[in-house]
């Protein structure tokens, strides 16, 4: 029987596994160090270990859902293919000029990164499509042949991006060029902008396509290797790759569109958070995924992660639907230092995995956030899993910065925690208020190793009254992978003013619907019917940014609603996002989008309650204020049965995460085994 679904999330430090039995809901988690030189090694070895521990036969695995950082790392380290670009005559520098802005206005020395394709590898061809999709200047086959010869003379190009103007309206020229290139160079992969993201705004579309081309050879090799290896261990398993937009895709799609995995890992965390919240009936969440070097923040509304359509990664622009995650450069390993203004700062420099925080005893001496937490007694010296932290070394590290500040070690450690809180608070306020949401209407969900140590401070500072700590905060990304469905996003640019004929928009939607049907046939096993969610991007005429308006109707194929419904939908979205509506100003549609989701039918697991009794391991001194420490019980989370209510102060420790409950709070273990922390005076 194929009863097991396994989520595998590869992070910088650890590769996490979460396995769930679809029948008996049994859950098994596992964690092992990552192998950054070849991530598939840790996946295979860890998978074998997991199968051993849980006594699972590899043939029983139905599906493996994989969150990968291969693409992200290749981009961050600029380690990808030598690529060529073919573009419309007159525009080969467009990729290099970008939006003509520089990253920091006051910094004369910092530039945006140079384009991924050398200028001499960016070739031009005579052709032009106009703004109505009409051919302004035809593509001549003689020019295509000349282009082939030019490409032949390029050195070591493994991958080519074809990016011409207005191809999102009329892809004929791009497709002809791509076909000729594929015929002439069978060993070279070709990415076409009208396939990667057929949407207007050429720089964003070209940049996304070029990134895709840059990643394709490396990601293809990885996918090949991984699928072959997994085929041996789990012969019946279908491998799904997690996309930045929050759903799985087939290995084939991932190989074709590797740029879609650029945010694979963090997006899985957000999806896991939404699922963990749903288990406790909480649907409006601010996530706080605090790792070693950085913290990711994401808003979840009505149980859905917010989606953004654009993001820069390592200075490269990607225009694709992605879970809207905001990253702050502060985590457990962040180093406290004195800035040039004489004030204490925390991060963005981090002690990383090597040498790591001083308390890890691997040679680190600089004061980090983790050291501060050890000094304050919030991070127990003996961690689950047998790891012991060195309190003496943590103390010495904090002392290094306390002395020049003229403060006590405790006051300095509290100060480090306070600055972390203030940095997080600023980040969350920015992501929530910028989108028109009051953070006080949300519940804070910390995860990652360090989130639970700072969550209540952050919540208090934002005026939030509740914090929910998921059952396994250290492997929430792997959990998210298990919960995820197959997903594909389609887009078409179709512009029409609302007082004009909307036939073209209707037709565009019908075309997307047909594409979705094709996808359902080829990519899903039609066991459970796929859902289609359509939306249109609308704006006031003259604006240069769009707002998505969801199309709500019950048919299996989404239909464009009438004019009034669309306009009212836009007004509502505009009011929510921008605080006002002008009912007289003309409105237009710019893009049509359709998201197809094929549920994989993973039923929510019903966890088993620990037996208890809920008695603390030890009582230790924990500093919550500079006055005096409080005697605080330290509980192992695995002994807290459902229904347990504790009053702070308390420390709740588990395998790979720690939760700190302040004196003015109560914490309850709910039926989903999530911890619900209620703050008193928020």
């Amino acid at each position: 029987m194929t009863d097991w679904v396994i989520g595998v999330d590869v992070g910088g430090t650890f590769t996490d596994f979460s396995a769930r039995n679809k029948k008996d809901h049994h859950i098994q988690v596992h964690k092992r160090p990552s192998t950054p030189d070849d991530p598939s090694r840790a996946i295979l070895e860890g998978l074998r270990e997991l199968l051993d521990i849980a006594d699972i036969d590899g043939a029983e695995i139905a599906r493996i859902a994989h969150g990968t950082t291969v693409a992200t790392n290749a981009l961050l380290q600029r380690r990808g293919a030598e690529i060529g670009v073919v573009t419309t005559k007159g525009f080969r520098d467009l990729l290099e000029i970008g939006r003509q802005v520089r990253p920091k206005i006051y910094d004369l020395q910092t530039d945006a990164p140079p384009p991924l394709a050398l200028r001499q590898n960016r070739l031009e061809i005579s052709e032009r499509i106009g703004a109505e999709g009409e051919v302004v200047s035809a593509l001549e086959m003689a020019d295509v042949e000349a282009l082939i010869n030019e490409v032949r003379s390029l050195d070591g190009v493994e991958s080519i991006a074809v990016c011409t103007l207005f191809s999102f309206l009329n892809p004929t020229h791009e497709q002809l060029i791509a076909k000729a290139l594929r015929n002439a160079f069978p060993g070279v992969v070709v990415s076409v902008s009208s396939d990667v993201q057929p949407e207007f705004r050429e720089y964003e579309r070209f940049s996304t396509t070029v990134i895709n081309a840059f990643l394709q050879p490396e990601v293809s090799r990885y996918m090949d290797k991984l699928s072959r290896a997994l085929g041996n261990v789990a012969p019946n398993a279908k491998l799904g790759i997690f996309q930045s937009s929050g759903g799985l895709m087939s290995v084939g799609k991932a190989t074709e569109f590797p740029v879609r995995t650029a945010l694979s890992g963090p997006a899985a965390g957000a999806v896991g958070a939404a699922a963990a919240g749903a288990a406790s009936g909480i649907s409006d969440i601010v996530t706080l995924d605090m790792g070693g070097t950085s913290t990711d923040v994401c808003l979840i509304r009505n149980g859905k992660t917010e989606i953004a359509n654009m993001r820069d990664i390592a200075g490269f622009r990607i225009r694709l639907p992605m879970v809207d995650i905001h990253t702050v450069g502060a985590g457990g390993g962040s180093i406290a230092h004195i800035g040039s203004d004489g004030l204490m700062k925390v991060g963005p420099e981090s002690a990383g995995a090597v040498p790591g925080p001083a308390c890890y005893g691997h040679g680190g001496v600089l004061p980090t956030v983790s050291d501060a937490n050890v000094v304050l007694g919030r991070l127990p010296e003996a961690l689950a899993g047998g790891l012991c932290l060195d309190k003496e070394k943590a103390f010495q590290a904090i002392e290094r910065i306390a002395k020049p500040l003229g403060l006590s070690v405790t006051a300095t450690a509290l100060g480090i925690a306070g600055i972390v809180t203030s940095n997080m608070t600023r980040a969350i306020r920015a992501v929530s208020t910028e989108k028109g949401h009051d953070p006080r209407n949300f519940v804070l969900m910390p995860f990652g190793g360090a989130g639970g140590l700072h969550a209540t401070d952050v919540a208090k500072s934002l005026g939030l009254s509740r914090v929910i700590v998921p059952n396994s905060p250290g492997i929430l990304c792997a959990d998210g992978l298990i919960e995820s469905d197959l997903q594909e996003n389609f887009v078409a640019t179709s512009r029409a003013r609302m007082n004009e004929d909307l036939i073209a928009v209707k037709e565009a939607l019908a075309r997307l619907d047909a594409q979705a049907d094709k996808w359902i046939v080829s990519e899903t096993d039609s066991a459970s019917p796929a859902q289609k969610n359509a939306s249109v991007d609308m704006r006031y005429v003259g604006q240069n940014y769009e707002l998505p308006v969801m199309i709500e109707n019950a048919q299996s194929s989404p239909q464009l609603p009438d004019r009034e419904t669309l306009i009212e939908g836009f007004f509502a979205a505009h009011l929510r996002s921008y605080g006002y509506v002008d009912r007289d100003a003309p409105v237009e549609v710019m893009n049509v989008r359709l998201k197809a989701v094929a549920p994989l039918g993973q039923a929510m697991a019903q966890p088993e309650s620990p037996k208890g009794p809920p008695t603390p391991d030890v009582i230790q001194d924990v500093w919550f204020s500079a006055d005096a420490p409080l005697s605080t019980p330290v509980y192992q989370r695995e002994v807290l049965p459902i229904g347990t209510t504790l009053t702070g102060p308390a420390i709740i420790a588990q395998f790979d995460a720690t939760t700190c409950v302040p004196p003015d709070a109560t914490v309850t273990v709910d039926a989903a085994l999530n911890l619900i922390v209620e703050l008193q005076d928020a």
């Binding site: 520098d93 006051y106 004369l108 200028r119 040039s340 600055i419 208020t433 028109g436 996002s577």
Partner: protein, 560 residues
């Protein structure tokens, strides 16, 4: 003032962060609730907090350099005029460069006092660039105007709210004088909302921390920033440094307008003296003192310590004098709308002067302009009028360790371009190319950045072109032996391929469907002698096609 009891460096960091959050939240409030594209997309606005003496304490992260001194100017004017009568619920408004601390009329300033009981604690202030404030031409930014009265409505400092009451008569007067009153009201309402929110947030801050602590905090922020800035200044070698440069022209008959600067540095004091600069001009390129101050502060901060926070502590560390009535300290009724171009030149002059003192930080002259191009006409598809405005980047100056960046906005401007596909979908225009200009970066050990070429043609109708360019005659200079970058130009190419050169302040040029305008922005100056350029770099210059063989051969003669 008694020496403030010092606040510990952790509490200060956290409270300072708190104030920054307030300024940022006000900034976002304007961005979210404003009406116009200029704010929502180009973020042409700023927010700040000032103390009871009008000293700038905190500016929003995304605030603009040019707005820095303008806010401070506004405060000075409010206090000079209203000091004893300021009361809770007042909101002051003003825009005039000559009497209300502004730098040009479209930037409307708003400020609201914050009280603790009856003690004035400070102000929250914001600036928004409004798309039109009346005057002779749409957009209130047109060239060819020779008096500030023609540039738009002049607003002295007045109360828009008096003790919480909207002064409807003032509001009606403002709205009647602006072309799109509904849009203006929308943007003004966003400014009012941001001021009220800032006031509420600081009141909450006062409840938590108390007035005494807050006032001490303000002092400490200014004091520390000042100390940090002076420490950076102190590292400069003592001495005096001079530099001069000229602007091409003002579009109203004055050419080669001189900006001259002598910097005297002694220990932690620095003095910028613009004596000897030309008189103010008829065309609208003049700078008010605040604009000059903004440009000097930008340049010094960028050279010495880009991360130093923006507040009064910077102003207090820098002494600036410019003769009243001069090009860099103009008096009424000098027109000022195009001040951004002149600010760019002041930045170049400061950098040029400090080259010797800061060889590792300075850069060759950048494209030195805020090149703008406006195409307007009647769209033949809709019979509606359209106006398409774009500002274009160019070369960035070469640096001590690397080449200048190609095709980018420089110094005080950093606005993004409009996508080609957006232009053509929106307007009856065709963009024929958008490219870096070969050979436009000045030669040097590190070469200057390249200018941008953009060619635009009207489709199916005749349109009008207006442009403002600078460094069309006076090329961006190189430093330490680096050569000048290419000058910019506007050209018209007709159906037969004949090219006509246009003025750098091209006005009302008619363009038929067979003709196109070619905009070429300036490149930038090189750094260091060309013969010191590494052979690999030269090989890459040629391989990339950024420089022609001929250019490389004639500009990079080997020493031997």
């Amino acid at each position: 003032m008694p020496e403030a009891v010092s606040i510990d460096p952790i509490a200060l960091e956290i409270s300072w962060n708190g104030l920054k959050s307030i300024a940022d939240e006000c900034f976002l409030t304007i961005m979210r609730s404003a009406f116009s594209t200029n704010i929502k997309e180009r973020h042409d606005h700023s927010t700040a907090i000032a103390d009871a003496n009008g000293r700038l304490i905190v500016q929003a992260e995304m605030a603009l350099p040019i707005h820095l001194a303008s806010m401070s100017g506004l405060m000075t004017c409010i206090l000079a005029q209203y000091r004893d009568t300021i009361k809770p619920g007042d909101i002051f408004i003003g825009n005039d460069p000559h009497v209300a601390g502004g730098t040009h009329l479209p930037d409307i300033n708003l400020a609201m006092p914050v009280f603790d009981g009856d003690q004035l604690i400070g102000f929250v202030a914001n600036i928004v660039h409004h798309a039109d404030v009346g005057g002779a031409a749409v957009g209130s930014m047109s060239g060819g105007l020779d008096e500030i009265f023609t540039e738009g409505l002049r607003i002295p400092i007045v109360r828009l709210f008096d003790g919480g009451e909207l002064q409807d008569d003032i509001m009606r007067l403002l709205m009647l004088n602006m072309r799109l009153p509904a849009e203006r009201k929308g943007d003004l309402n966003a400014q009012i909302a941001a001021a009220k929110l800032g006031n509420q947030r600081i009141s909450e801050f006062l409840e938590t921390h108390g007035a005494d602590y807050t006032v001490r905090l303000f002092d400490e922020i200014v004091r520390r920033t000042n100390r940090r800035m002076r420490a950076a200044i102190e590292k400069l070698p003592n001495g005096s440094y001079s530099f001069s440069d000229v602007m091409d022209d003002d579009g109203a008959g004055t050419e080669d307008i001189l900006i001259t600067l002598k910097i005297t540095k002694s220990d932690h004091d620095i003095f910028f003296d613009f004596a000897g600069s030309d008189d103010q001009v008829l065309g609208n390129f003049n700078l008010t003192f605040n604009a000059t101050q903004s440009a000097v502060c930008y340049a010094l901060k960028a050279l010495l310590d880009p991360e130093v926070p923006n507040n009064q502590g910077i102003f207090d560390a820098i002494r600036i004098e410019a003769p009243p009535g001069s090009f860099v300290n103009c008096v009424s009724p000098a027109p000022v709308a195009m001040r951004a171009n002149t600010c760019q030149r002041v930045v170049d002059v400061v950098i040029g002067a400090l080259a010797e003192a800061l060889p590792d930080q300075v850069v060759g002259a950048a494209n030195g302009a805020n090149t703008s191009a406006v195409f307007s006409g009647i769209d033949p598809r809709t019979s509606q009028q359209y106006v398409y405005l774009e500002t274009l980047g160019g070369g960035m100056g070469a640096r001590a360790t690397k080449d200048g960046k190609d095709g980018v906005q420089v110094n005080i401007t950093n606005t993004s371009n409009l996508p080609v596909e957006a232009i053509e979908m929106e307007y009856p225009l065709r963009v024929e190319d958008y490219a870096l200009i070969a050979d436009s970066g000045g030669a040097g050990k590190h070469r200057g950045g390249m200018g941008i070429r953009r060619s635009i043609r009207p489709v199916g109708h005749t349109c009008e072109f207006n442009g403002v360019g600078e460094r069309f005659r006076n090329q961006p200079w190189g430093i330490f032996g680096g050569q000048s970058g290419a000058a910019g130009m506007f050209e018209m190419v007709d159906c037969k391929g004949n090219t006509t050169s246009l003025s750098s302040k091209a006005s009302r040029v008619k363009l038929s469907p067979d003709a196109r305008v070619v905009i070429s922005t300036p490149g930038a100056g090189g750094y260091g002698a060309p013969e010191d350029r590494k052979p690999e770099a030269l090989a890459e210059d040629q391989a990339s096609g950024k420089f022609t063989k001929g250019f490389l051969a004639s500009n990079y003669a080997r020493k031997d």
